[in-house]
Structure formats: C-alpha cells, structure tokens
Symmetry: C2
Subunit: 141 residues, 2 copies
DNA sequence: TGAGCAACTGCAAGTGATTTGCAATTGATC
DNA sequence: GATCAATTGCAAATCACTTGCAGTTGCTCA
C-alpha cells in the first residue's frame, strides 16, 4: 500500500481519503470491479461517483490499475501487482457474471507476427472468454 | 441478398426499405460499421437512427450480422457470410481506426480446455488486436 | 505551525451511444 | 383491396461516463 501512495506522491498527486478508500477496496476485492460497484461497496457518502471515475482514470494512467472490458458497456478495474503489467484474461459467465482469472497468455508471439505482417507497431490485444458456469448450467433460463 | 430476405421472411419479419438499405450498405462495406456510420452513409431521410439500432439488433439475433467491440464505446457490425459463423478478429489502429481483418484463430482448442478446466459450457471468446499502423507511425502525435 | 496554492472533490449539468413508449405507417396474407 | 401484426419516426428516457465550477484539502516551505 505504501508503495502505491509513494508512487502517487512522486508524481505530485495527493493521498486523499477518497483515493485511499478506492485503493483499499480494490485491494480487498481481487476481481474486476466497475465504478458503480466500488461506489456501492464504499460506506455511504465517503466519496462521490464522479471522483471514483476520475481516480480510476488517474490510476490507470499511472498503471496502478488495469482496465478490462467485458462487453457489457461498463469498464472494470483491477489493481496491478508490483512489477507486473497486469496483462491477463478472464472467463466470464454470461448469466451470473462470475469471473475466473486466466493466467496463461500465448498471444505475445502472435502480436509480433501481426505487427510485422501488417507494418504495425506497439501491438497489444484484448481477449476475454465467455461461457456459462457450472452453477448457472443447473438453473433454468 | 435474396437468401437474407428469405431468412427474414421465414421468421415472419418484413422486408422493409430501411432494412434493405441497411443490408445493402453492410454488403457494400465489408468492414465493421457503427450505427452512426451506416446512418451517415445512407441518403438523408431514408431511415431513422433508432431504426438502424433496432434493425442491427434484430439482424444480430438472427445471426445475419456480427457485433464487434473495439473498446471505444461504439458497437460495430459486419455482415456474416453464408454458412459462416462470422468469427474472426481485427487489428485496429488506435490513431486512425484503420482495420485489418485477421483470418486465423487458434483459440478454439483453448476454449475447450478452459471449458473443461472450469466446468463452463458454451465457451466463446472476443479478441481484438490494437497497434499503430504504418501511415500513422509517420505522422506526429 | 500556519500561510499559500495547486491538486482535489462534490454537485449538477452535459455527452454520446443506445433504448423505448407511442401513435402513425406499411408489408404480408387472404 | 381489407386486415392486422410488424415496423417506423419522433421525442423522451437511460446509462455510463465526463466536465465546469466553486469550495476543500493535502503538501511545501518559511
């Protein structure tokens, strides 16, 4: 935690109580969270929703959090580990939104191949898997 | 084209002029198009924007078009070929939005692996590559 | 310790993509 | 050509997210 606040301070950003609260929630919930969810988890009145959006934006730019897109129109964020670039993927249940983190990613090689073949540089990718989890398979609907 | 209208008719959907116009535009532009773009391409007053949204929704449900998400907040649609499921990926320039279609997809095997390992069924995936195209590399900014 | 100030925050209004209620219109069927 | 459900246009409503602005609050430095 102090490492994070250190990074903030180094860029002359302030350690405010909303920011601490947001980081704390992200640390306690090692899952992709939407701004709205962070807001709901947080004790009433501790911080404005707009501030959560602004903070997440800042933390993303500082590479302290990573943004994920599950295609439902709401961005989700996860804390990035020390020395990690946060790159990984998920398997998401389309019924209940349960999320499984996926470690392996063998697409780096394909990135370079695509970059060379199409004269692109700085190629990255976004990949998410979707399906129906075992619990939801048993439920009707 | 008649194959498409046939599919519409079979589900007791009507072949209306807005729908024909939309399908025609998608056929002429084999690239992912946003609703807004389809609206702009279409001769003024030929069809309402809301109708485009509704039509694309319907066509997607009927698997006549496929939805893609480039992470910029606007959905894009492509016509799906006959007998094809439309599954493929793109390499998108983050500066000028140029799009390269990517045929190969070797993730089907990984899908089954993930499904088995996590007890999911009906696993699919969304994958897009992003980078900077050669033209944009030469421009400042 | 406290003055000074840039960085922050809350609030409310604004965006931009997409959806929806409803009354008028229009294909498809007979 | 009548009939009727499917469609459309229009305007208002959503939803996630952003922004202007005036009032706060961490940090720095004397």
């Amino acid at each position: 935690m102090s490492a994070l606040t250190g990074r903030l301070r180094r860029q002359s950003r302030k350690i405010t109580s909303p920011r601490q609260a947001i980081l704390e929630i992200l640390r306690k919930h090692p899952h992709p969270l939407m701004s709205k969810e962070i807001f709901a988890i947080m004790p009433k009145g501790q911080c404005n929703l707009a501030t959560i959006y602004r903070t997440l934006h800042l933390l993303e730019k500082m590479e302290i959090v990573k943004r994920f897109d599950f295609g439902d129109g709401a961005a989700r964020f996860e804390l990035v580990g020390e020395g990690d670039d946060g790159h990984h993927h998920h398997l998401v249940c389309t019924r209940c939104a349960a999320v499984v983190e996926i470690e392996e990613c063998f697409l780096r090689e394909m990135e370079s191949r695509l970059a060379a073949a199409n004269r692109f540089i700085a190629v990255t990718h976004k990949l998410e898997f979707f399906g129906i989890c075992s619990r939801c398979q048993k439920r009707p609907g």
